[in-house]
């Protein structure tokens, strides 16, 4: 595979984005390209560990770091862009842990050596970047404004950041590095949405957790948390909730019929990805933005509003 050109970035799709969350994957690519950066998938990627391997020491860090090695070796890119907040967390956690602890770096490199896939050792010199932060810092709000051809006038959006995009700052460096978002009150998605012409609503659950991690074993917790978020957003007058994580989509969108069954119509609100709204405002069709993939049926409200 060829090394990346200047207007390209190495992109990690993760397991969800190539399958059931293709709407997020495809709209991210469309939007980035429109803004002047082509996302190039790394070949041969493996699962980041999705938070389930944390207690396994160096093995949990080997998983994301193997992908960093691929990006560097095959595409010549130290950094890796990803759209899933869980992947982003796993990558930044692993990179920072081995950066700050020599023993853990050695242990990871021993696994690399034994697997024998790469010639050189892993050096923690690259960064994982969440697509929202990446587009915000590399291209900025002005670039978004420039590309809007169909402003989302009259659409009220509840931006939902979830947990791992901005937390914990010891891994994400929010509040700590310049040009990074705020941990408690992130703003990047707000600014993007406002640049699209949409109206953002304040509902107080922007950085609350959806409980997605325990959704299989402990539905009750997840459903309760999701219901709180959805009903608060609805009460604040939102037409849709905008997400930046496929795990949040699993909890808020895919499970919404069950949540409504349990908590009633107050917990019913269309869910979309931020990049889908961006694609729509950039002039792509609703079909190209794949709104029909969402279980919570955002198409109804979008049609009503005349988009």
């Amino acid at each position: 595979m060829d090394k990346l050109k200047e207007n390209q970035a190495a992109y990690y799709p993760g397991c969800a984005l190539l399958t059931i969350d293709r709407a997020y994957n495809n709209s991210s690519k469309l939007v980035s390209k429109k803004m002047g950066i082509e996302l190039v998938e790394i070949p041969d990627y493996n699962c980041c560990g999705i938070g389930e391997m944390k207690s396994k020491g160096a093995a949990s860090m080997y998983l994301p770091l193997r992908n960093m090695m691929i990006a560097k070796n095959r595409l010549g890119s130290k950094n890796l862009v990803m759209a899933c907040s869980v992947c982003y967390h796993e990558f930044s956690r692993s990179i920072n842990r081995v950066k700050e602890n020599q023993n853990e770096l050695t242990a990871v490199n021993e696994i690399f050596k034994e697997a024998g896939e790469f010639k050189e050792e892993y050096i923690p010199d690259g960064e994982a970047r969440h697509i929202l932060e990446f587009l915000y810092n590399e291209k900025g709000v002005e670039e978004v404004k420039k590309n809007v051809v169909k402003p989302l006038k009259g659409l009220k959006v509840a931006p939902y950041y979830g947990c791992l995009y901005s937390r914990p700052s010891m891994y994400t460096f929010t509040d700590k590095k310049p040009k990074m978002d705020n941990s408690e009150r992130p703003r990047f998605m707000h600014e993007f949405l406002e640049a699209l012409g949409a109206e953002t609503v304040f509902y107080g659950n922007e950085v609350q957790c959806c409980g997605g991690r325990n959704v299989v074993q402990d539905e009750e917790t997840s459903f309760t948390l999701c219901s709180q978020t959805i009903s608060k957003a609805k009460k604040a007058g939102a037409d849709v909730i905008a997400l930046i994580c496929p795990k949040c989509a699993g909890a808020l969108d895919v499970n919404q019929p069950k949540i409504v069954e349990k908590f009633g119509k107050d917990s019913e609100l269309p869910i979309v990805y931020l990049t889908q709204l961006m694609a729509l405002a950039f002039g792509f069709s609703k079909k190209e933005a794949e709104f029909s993939d969402m279980i919570s049926e955002p198409l109804k409200v979008l049609n009503e509003k005349g988009f």
Partner: protein, 262 residues
């Protein structure tokens, strides 16, 4: 001082008696067993039953088990335990505590610091509730990283109470195994398979045939997503990584066993 207890009901009414521990501040943080209360108590002829007469049994532990502390500290997830000064910010900001009052990260870290396995054992059923949202780690003034300390807690539970974990946390363990087998064995997550196996394990196969599940499956078959899930293969050369990870985990287990004297 003459202390007598008398049966209120027979003595004809008197002041209303509060619920057990009703007036304790942060009542949810204290187990029932740790509250000592005398509802109908007379001291020197004065009826003192009522709200003031509640005591919390001392929880002071004097038998520190330092080896246990070191054991936690050695794990990657529990390495920051020595920083905790018990301010309680983790529990105050926890997403799960308001839903499960007995889920109390601060108390869990305290018990781990002391090596108090007897106390820890009482919380096996809630120890797995952490949603991993990292609010605690974000707000912890000492960067203890309580979210990862909860992973360390899981390690402790598995090691010392393996029998109880097997029975009380059967589903949690089985789901964890499905994840691990898929991540290590296959290199990638097959979300459809993950979902169906987890539902099967929890005995909810009937639900999968229900209206909601069926609707979602139908949609995904119709728009082609179901097939993309099936098509997702392994990364090339994954077998060498798989072997290396398995060897590492095997080594980890051997060291742990030799330390525990197994």
């Amino acid at each position: 001082m003459a202390i007598e207890k008398h049966d209120k009901e027979n003595s004809g009414g008197g002041r209303p008696v509060a619920e057990k521990g009703e007036h304790i501040v942060a009542r949810h943080l204290i187990e029932d067993d740790n509250i000592k209360e005398e509802k109908n108590l007379v001291i020197d002829g004065v009826d003192v039953s009522g709200r003031w007469n509640t005591f919390i049994i001392s929880r002071v532990d004097s038998d520190f088990d330092r080896s246990f502390f070191e054991e936690i500290k050695k794990t990657v997830v529990g390495s920051r335990i020595n920083r905790c000064w018990q301010c309680g910010m983790c529990t105050a900001s926890c997403t799960v505590t308001p839903l499960y009052r007995r889920f109390n990260p601060r108390a869990f870290i305290y018990m781990m610091q002391l090596g108090n396995l007897r106390e820890l054992k009482k919380y096996i059923d809630v120890a797995w509730r952490c949603v991993g949202c990292y609010k605690c780690s974000q707000r912890c003034p000492k960067q203890v990283n309580p979210a990862e300390m909860m992973e360390a807690l899981a390690l402790v539970m598995k090691k010392y109470f393996s029998e109880e974990v097997k029975t009380k946390l059967k589903l949690d363990e089985e789901v964890k195994t499905i994840y691990e087998d898929m991540i290590i064995g296959h290199g990638r997550l097959d979300l459809a398979k993950l979902h169906t196996s987890a539902m099967q394990k929890s005995g909810r196969t009937k639900e999968m045939l229900g209206k909601i599940e069926r609707g979602a499956i139908f949609e995904m078959v119709k728009d082609g997503r179901a097939f993309s899930v099936l098509r997702l293969g392994k990364p090339h050369n994954w077998s060498s990584s798989k072997e290396a990870i398995e060897n590492y985990l095997h080594k980890l287990k051997t060291i742990e066993n030799s330390e525990a004297g197994v």
